[in-house]
Symmetry: C2
Subunit: 885 residues, 2 copies
């Protein structure tokens, strides 16, 4: 039997996507469901492949089958291709399995020639409509099928408009358009050396060939290469009867959603324009009518449309985005597809549809994007608001805020105590500014990247932050900043958008975040699906509480160093670092111990029953000391001015101390466990604080599960040595208290060597936690602080990197190390607990990767926990179905 190359719409169905392409299968499915789809047919993707296989010729029988299908369309419509009396006009569209840029889009009005044009004008009584349709056809066909530069057509059109003083295309009369059409045909003759084809069958043949050829256009090939789409799928061709919404008052065209795509409310939402074509709606000259008005205007059509909308939504089990046309009172359905929707709407629709029994909870989980959850959790600037952006920096911590500008932390505290909302604006922040950051609505800095102090602290306390805004020129003496020609004085109001990096003059309307009942329901579905646990990074009891409220199942990273940066503690920390003898150092440590213990008590209480991973001191000690260059300037100034005395001497001494601790590459310097090995007293104090706190809250009846994490291990002996030292300390504390408490020792995997030798390291680690921030830095050999401003963002925009590896985990490189480490770690210790505590722990594609790696948990910012919960559930649902189970 001969191959079937052509399917009438009513012969196909929605499952035939591979053969008929997306558009063809959709049209077939609607036709099959009894909806009024303008008749048409689809030439299969196999025909496209056969076309190429036979040296760019239609396969045997295809053309005959197409003509037969056309006859069938003619029979259904009563029109005939090329018939002057009642001409059939068709559209020709490409349609591959997935929509693909670079392929031919659409030729409309195919079938027009001087004869059929006459017939069209006669039947519609509208010469302008007729000539406009004709010149559009020549233009589209000329460009797409005959490959003529479209500028040349536009040039003719513009010349005509200029000649007759028309501003818009619509200002041109029927006569003007007739002239244009003639000039278009003359252009085609000049460019191709042939007359524009008048035979509608010739037009159809050429259009089908053009669709086939567009499959192998350079743009399409590049697109497939990039997206790894096979080149042998081919494209289908759809030929469909034209219908016109501009045939008079009983005609029209519109788009509608089966539910409100902004709010999710379950009502028809959309608009239509009587006596208009799709292009007129886009042009925006007339105001469209709300879809609800149709019930009054065209009650029968409305009822019919509503019925189809319900049917399609139930059929596709998702909110649909519909296109329709009414021609002389008859409704035609042109397209249906899943509708795009807002974050609020996505969640509401998904949860509503579960309640309506339309979809399962698992499907609901798949219907919401993690980015939607992210949006819902932060205050957003109302997208409808008109704003004056005066600068753009790095989107360092999401959310938005308005407030009065203050230039120092103390004033931020003072003003906010008197009820003002403030935005703290600093050249860059340091530990001295943290008290101001905590009370501010948001933070704006002129310098620093996504790992700058401002960014890290802002994310950890959930404040919006725009960092590294280099166009913002701050003058601390005048207490003002200038940007983009605008001067903002202290006390003036600005807004910042930490999700986009924008700085805006004045206050702007905001949309408040809400953990709605629907969102909670959806996250509940996600929890019932996911296997990967979601923990949170939290340094303070208040963070731990937020984390728990957002559903965190543990603390995956408690950074102890942030505790030392607090105002009252930093001087003690500095005393400890600068101590010249052990007694002084120990005295300072003893004072720090009290603070540390109380921090841990608070966190343990908040996380009653859940694990808490505490990382021992990690950053280089000089981070706790004054800045070297500032000291250098002060000492140099004092010398140049001939100043003397104890104050200068103290500065000189400090300069020397800080100078001796400076590092060429602090990221790769004396930090992490290296510190612990050189100065074991600090670690010992911390472990003492952890165990004492655990024992104390344990006696209160709190169930406490401390896990002590040793950072920056690269060689097993580092871990072994530190662990052995600290086990002794822990034993001492427990002996002193006369009780025991169960705890774990583990390590960060954050340098490549740790991943490569994870089998050895696992001997001394009950858990691994991937520190993917540092692991990404060392695996790429890229300092995030330096790179984001200097080349990394350009790398992404130039497509050298697919995405910023500090935001989206690099699965190929860093991920390979993680896989090696998981496999080697589990080979040594099968029950080793493995998690991730880098920022990637809250990024959906990275969460999915962690799920596939079989990690026990991801740990992320408390504010991203809901995002990770959803992403972890989606990871389960996107697993390939196991066959034969």
């Amino acid at each position: 039997m001969a191959t079937k190359w052509v399917y009438a719409f009513r012969e196909g169905n929605g499952s035939m996507r591979d053969l008929l392409g997306g558009k063809g299968a959709g049209a077939a499915e609607m036709t099959r469901a009894g909806l009024p789809v303008p008749p048409g047919f689809t030439i299969t993707t196999e025909a496209c492949n056969a076309y190429y296989a036979s040296g760019e010729r239609f396969p045997d029988g295809m053309w005959d089958q197409a003509i037969a299908a056309l006859r069938d369309v003619e029979a259904q419509t009563g029109k005939k291709l090329g018939d002057e009396g009642n001409p059939l006009l068709v559209s020709v569209r490409s349609g591959a399995r997935t929509s693909m840029p670079g392929m031919m889009d659409t030729v409309l009005n195919l079938g027009l020639n001087p004869n059929t044009l006459r017939g069209l004008i006669a039947r519609t009584g509208n010469p302008r409509f007729g000539y406009d349709a004709y010149r559009r056809f020549i233009q589209m066909f000329g460009k797409i099928v005959l490959d003529i530069d479209s500028d040349k057509f536009e040039h003719i059109l513009d010349a005509r408009k200029q000649k007759v003083g028309a501003k818009l295309d619509t200002d041109l009369s029927a006569d003007d358009l007739q002239v244009v059409a003639e000039e278009f045909k003359e252009l085609v003759r000049t460019e191709t050396g042939k007359d524009f084809p008048t035979d509608p069958y010739e037009q159809l043949r050429l259009a089908i060939q053009a669709v086939f050829r567009s499959w192998n256009s350079a743009r399409a090939i590049t697109y497939r290469d990039f997206h790894k789409i096979p080149h042998n799928l081919g494209t289908a061709v759809n030929v469909q009867t034209m219908v016109f919404g501009n045939m008079g008052a009983d005609s029209g065209t519109g788009v509608a959603f089966t539910r409100n795509p902004n709010t999710g409310e379950n009502v028809l939402y959309g608009e239509y324009l009587p006596n208009a074509q799709g292009e007129d709606v886009v042009a925006g000259i007339r105001t469209p009518h709300q879809i609800a008005e149709m019930a009054r205007e065209w009650p029968a059509v409305y009822q019919e449309f509503k019925r189809y909308a319900d049917l399609l939504e139930r059929h596709y089990r998702d909110m649909q985005d519909l296109e329709f046309t009414v021609e002389n009172g008859k409704l035609y359905m042109l397209q249906t597809r899943s509708g795009k929707r807002s974050a609020v709407s996505a969640v509401k629709i998904a949860v509503d549809m579960v309640a309506e029994g339309l979809i399962s909870k698992e499907e609901a989980v798949q219907r919401v994007e993690p980015g939607h959850i992210e949006q819902l959790l932060h205050r957003q600037i109302d997208p409808a608001a008109k704003v004056h952006v005066i600068a753009k920096g790095l989107n360092a911590s999401p959310g938005a805020a308005s407030g009065k500008v203050v230039f120092d932390a103390d004033r931020a505290v003072k003003w906010s105590e008197s009820g003002e909302k403030v935005i703290l604006v600093r050249p860059e922040t340091s530990p001295d500014d943290v008290h101001g950051m905590i009370v501010a609505q948001g933070i704006l800095t002129a310098r620093g990247g996504a790992t700058s102090h401002a960014a890290v602290v802002a994310r950890s306390i959930g404040k919006p932050c725009v960092a590294g805004t280099e166009t913002v020129k701050i003058d601390l003496e005048l207490r003002q900043f200038a940007s983009d020609g605008v001067v903002i004085k202290e006390g003036d109001v600005i807004s910042i958008n930490g999700s986009t990096g924008e700085v805006i003059e004045g206050a702007v309307p905001m949309i408040e975040p809400e953990l709605t009942g629907e969102l909670q329901a959806l996250l509940g579905y996600a929890d019932s699906v996911r296997r990967l646990q979601v923990w949170a990074n939290a340094d303070y009891p208040r963070d731990a509480e937020i984390a728990r409220r957002n559903g965190a199942q543990g603390i995956g990273l408690c950074r102890t160093e942030h505790m030392f940066f607090e105002t009252e503690r930093l001087p003690i920390m500095q005393e400890m670092i600068l101590a010249r003898d052990d007694a002084t150092r120990q005295a300072a440590l003893d004072r720090l111990l009290v603070f540390q213990k109380n921090d841990f008590v608070g966190i343990f209480r908040a996380m009653n029953g859940l694990p808490v991973v505490i990382r021992l001191l990690d950053p280089p000690l000089h981070e706790f000391l004054p800045d070297y260059e500032e000291l250098l300037v002060q000492v140099t100034e004092a010398h140049a001015r001939g100043e003397h005395g104890p104050e200068v001497e103290k500065k000189e001494a400090l300069l020397k101390e800080v100078g001796a601790m400076r590092e060429a590459n602090p990221m790769l310097g004396l930090r992490g466990c290296r510190l612990g090995l050189m100065f074991p007293q600090v670690n010992a104090m911390q472990v003492r604080a952890i165990l004492q706190a655990a024992i104390e809250v344990g006696r209160e009846g709190v169930s406490v599960h401390p896990e002590i994490m040793i950072p920056l291990v690269g060689h097993v002996n580092e871990l072994k040595t530190v662990r052995e030292q600290l086990e002794k300390v822990a034993d001492d504390v427990m002996k002193e208290a006369g009780t025991r408490v169960s705890y774990k020792f583990g390590t960060m995997i954050e340098v490549p060597r740790a991943a490569l030798t994870a089998d050895e390291i696992a001997k001394y680690a009950e858990f691994f936690s991937f520190g993917t921030n540092d692991l990404t830095q060392t695996t790429f050999g890229i300092s995030r602080d330096d790179a984001e401003g200097k080349f990394l963002l350009q790398y992404v925009s130039q497509k050298i990197l697919p995405s910023n590896p500090f935001q989206v985990l690099d699965q190929t490189g860093v991920g390979k190390l993680m896989r090696l480490a998981v496999e080697a770690g589990r080979a040594t210790r099968s029950d080793i607990e493995v998690g991730i505590c880098g920022e990637h722990g809250g990024e959906p594609s990275s969460v999915e990767f962690c799920h596939r790696l079989g990690l026990n948990y991801v740990s992320c910012s408390p504010f991203r926990v809901p995002v990770a919960r959803l992403a972890a559930a989606q990871a389960v649902l996107s697993e390939p179905v196991k066959v034969g189970v």
Copy 2:
């Protein structure tokens, strides 16, 4: 049949090392060869294992076999254990398969008690000798077998010396020693609660047990753990007749080498002392006689000894280190083992023995340590010289030098032009100092590690350098430095030892390096054996010439940035970097192009016929600019002093520029291919220079093989993008010249991600070169500059790391990445050329690893090429023998 636990010396042989231990097998082999070895026997290692297996009891039959063997010894010697008339005295020694610290060494004179002592005195007529032997026996036995603190014995001995006014042990009389022996026995009684054992059989039994027990001493176990020696090998016990060289004028004792261990000359070399015991030789009270004198003094003994020496050397096919004793005119051979030797001697002996037909060329290659070659290639301080070390820094570049101290490069040039030898002493060096470094004999810096500018440049130009000598306090204004209380003024002479890091006051005698005929012969043998090629890192034509002279087969790394640091070029480079528009930048680049081309012309000529890998600009651009902090101080001073004017403004502008280019972690910043992607003009200039140079020398008839290396690639798209840009440039140059030249593109593998994704990267690379300096930094997450001073050396001394991974390649971690990269790279491109150009390329164990990985070449400093040639050959010879081939 019962197990044989005991072997008489004459029953064993040299191949029974596993069973009899090294000492036992050696004594057996000498006995078997007919040499006069004092009779004795060996208790096997299996007996030791059986001892432990049966709960620390001698295995059945062992003691009886030992007694039987003893009887045999008695029969041979005519002496009897415990016999007052003619007492047999024996030594008892442990002897495992390999010599091992922590195990029992030796108990001498076993068999003495009051009775046998009387007999010994009677037979020797020497009461002092008798009592001395007796007290020594009690002391050794007490310490080693009875586990009594040896200080307690020394205390008694010292008290006696003080009492009688004796300075040395030898000042004590027979009576004194008799008293001491009695007090020793009293001590044993107090410490052990028992009398010192008088029964020689009891003594023997206890001594054998002590040897067995020493196998499991804490020190021995730790040693085996560290060296990965199995714990189940066990130790043998050797029991041997004592002979005495202090029996009169016809007795004596000595040591000798079969060849001169300092020069390698083929003559007996050593010394002996008549009427003396081994200890007397060590004590150095009497001057020993040269071995040649024996020919006159004891002609018969000399002839006999010479015969044995020849026999043993031929037997063992290596220079032997012999111990012998003459007792009453009878020669006894006590020990033979391969002799330690100097570098010169090792090479000469190996090559001579090949000429003598004694060993094969392959064996000769195995007889010389790569470290020996290293020594021979650098000037060394005469080890015999007495020196005053005033400071110790980092051994940053090997070799030694003496010269007058100068504190700046210009003066170094001036003085050396007038014929002075100078040592350049600087706080640290910068590109401004290079012209002074080139003319200096050596470089001493107060700051900076093994990758500091001083160290890197010194190694690359083959000058000795001591860096980071923190105790050296330089006062540039007074033009002097102080260290260890000594003040050295400019013009004073110092010496530095770049191999040890020592700084020495004054001039010292030196040993000049020599590429002797023997060394060349040996390296020739190595070349005929090795498969791994040896290339060199060379930045200048003069380096390339040295490299070639030392046998390099290519240039594996030509660092183009060093070229830009030269005095006349640096200002142009700075102009290029600071250019505000493309035209200015291009003008500077055009001027640099001329220099670059000439550099390459010189190198290509020098390497006629061999490949030259040229790395495109790698370091961050700010390295070429003035130091930020120096500028900051200058500008701050100017401001504080109220200075104004164009000079200050220029500085301010420069400060701003340099400030904007500063990086938090320059090691991980904007450098390597990242620079090339952000500023493609520099790379384009370099490729233009390379191709123009290649075409020019090609027309001279030089065979030129340029390989263009793109540094710091982490993602395939970096390489792809840069390569595509540069291929266009290369094509342009070749079109302009109307000729073609063959060249390669490749990349460094120096960040972990490159290794992990080598399969992708190999698509665009014809060669890989492992940059193991940076790869080690990123794999460990350790900045070498920061770490070596702050924790890395402590890590090594505390055994956290087995060695400094920047000197000895970390095979477990970094090596694993290299293996992954080689495998993945070759899977994509089977003929990809893979080499290493990090400093490890000249380190023997790393060279061996590279051989095992199957690299094509190692590339190292021109001065280490001979070392690598030898190491590469040894790598072949240490391959496991393939069975069944």
